[in-house]
Symmetry: C2
Subunit: 229 residues, 2 copies
DNA sequence: AGGTAAATGGACCAGATAGTCCATCCCGAT
DNA sequence: ATCGGGATGGACTATCTGGTCCATTTACCT
């Protein structure tokens, strides 16, 4: 049985180093392509250290799932804080698209990608990833709720449903982006989610056209996309 | 080097049997959890047969990716044929949700799931999966185009964008369904996509409320979901 | 300082796995 | 029938990988 949490500062450092190395390798080569020997080598650690802090391979991958979830969610914290305005929503979406562009559409969403590799194999890992998605969706929902509290959303609008929808669009868009190696797939999907939110704005808050195309550039309420190439 | 296509009927049969066995095992245990010995055992074949028809493991997995793509797309053919009406769209979405319910939300989309496991590892497999998604999206787009041709969609509506959006919603919804073990996630995501299509209907074709909630049951144009439990 | 628990080094093992090899068998064409 | 190539059987190997073990060192507390 492995130690729960390291007792010393040095121990915590080693544990973290191992998780980080494992997460990097998993991102590069996938779960299956990552061996414990590889992890040890990159972390400058020995097998005994790895098994001192983790029960087995699955336990390590669970820790990786948690670390990845934390990184994805925490990494968007500043953007999440501004999700209570249309501009903030656009900024968040832009950031996601730009990130995919810089990554050349490789890898997809770290959480979504791990899901396909771990969800059916290890229940604990599945729950870690579900927790990450929950925190993500919660951030979106709370932003929309703040908009609603300011009266900017139609009273009949459901921030929870809109947030769920937006997260699904992000995940689906990221998957299409990964498989097609085309960041535009994410942009288009998020565009659709944004239009759903725009359609739920309170009447009179801003004028907009009802039957607008989802992607037409002549649509003021459409999502023009980031300008980075 | 492996034979391209088997020369005899018996050979074709064997090759197919191997692919089917591999696809089944991959669906059950994932790519990483499937060994070639397992595949041989289930296919009642020997190693020499496997290596007679495939170059190596990656080559086999590429064939699996193609077979899975075909199965997913061909398996929806009858539903695809009716995607040119709102009722047909609903029927297709219902079928997807019901399928997830019967599978207890396990596995997600076969194509999407394979994507996370193969896309970054093997370019050929990625292309096979991309092709499957393309055929899927094409089916949706052509349905919407038939609606547009009948004048049931707003002239400004973009069937291509709506189809892309719908596919992204399906994939995102399937991923959320898998991670959260909740088929409702798919229903909600498809609901959003359907609302986008409903919003693009030609004016006057049917009355509908503009600022409707995405999931409210009091919304006649919303997507009530299948009644199966 | 000294003792105790935590942390580390690294050899070692058993099982699994991808891939090889060659002898044999089957079947259709001549 | 027979002959040649495709199809098959299945043993074999080299390597990799998860996991174990124990001796040794280091860090923390009193």
């Amino acid at each position: 049985m492995a130690i729960g949490q390291p007792a010393t500062a040095k121990g915590r450092e080693t544990r973290e180093r191992i998780i980080r190395a494992a997460a990097e390798l998993v991102a590069e080569r996938g779960v299956a392509g990552t061996s414990l020997d590889d992890v040890c080598a990159r972390a400058h650690a020995s097998k005994s250290q790895l098994y001192h802090y983790f029960d087995d391979r699955d336990d390590l991958m669970r820790a990786v799932a948690r670390a990845v979830s934390d990184e994805v969610v925490d990494g968007q914290a500043e953007l999440f804080a501004r999700l209570d305005t249309i501009g903030g929503l656009r900024a968040w979406m832009d950031a996601l698209v730009i990130l995919q562009q810089t990554r050349q559409a490789k890898g997809g969403c770290p959480i979504g990608s791990l899901a396909g590799q771990l969800a059916e194999h290890d229940e604990g890992a599945r729950l870690e990833l579900a927790d990450g998605l929950d925190r993500w969706e919660t951030a979106i929902r709370e932003g929309l709720e703040r908009m609603a509290a300011r009266g900017e959303l139609d009273p009949g609008a459901d921030p929870g449903a809109l947030a769920q929808n937006t997260l699904a669009a992000a995940q689906g868009g990221l998957l299409l982006t990964q498989v097609r190696r085309d960041p535009d797939q994410l942009r288009a999907a998020l565009n659709g989610a944004l239009n759903a939110i725009l359609g739920a704005r309170a009447e009179g808050s801003t004028t907009f056209r009802i039957h607008s195309s989802l992607s037409g550039d002549d649509n003021n309420d459409g999502y023009p996309g980031p300008t980075v190439t």
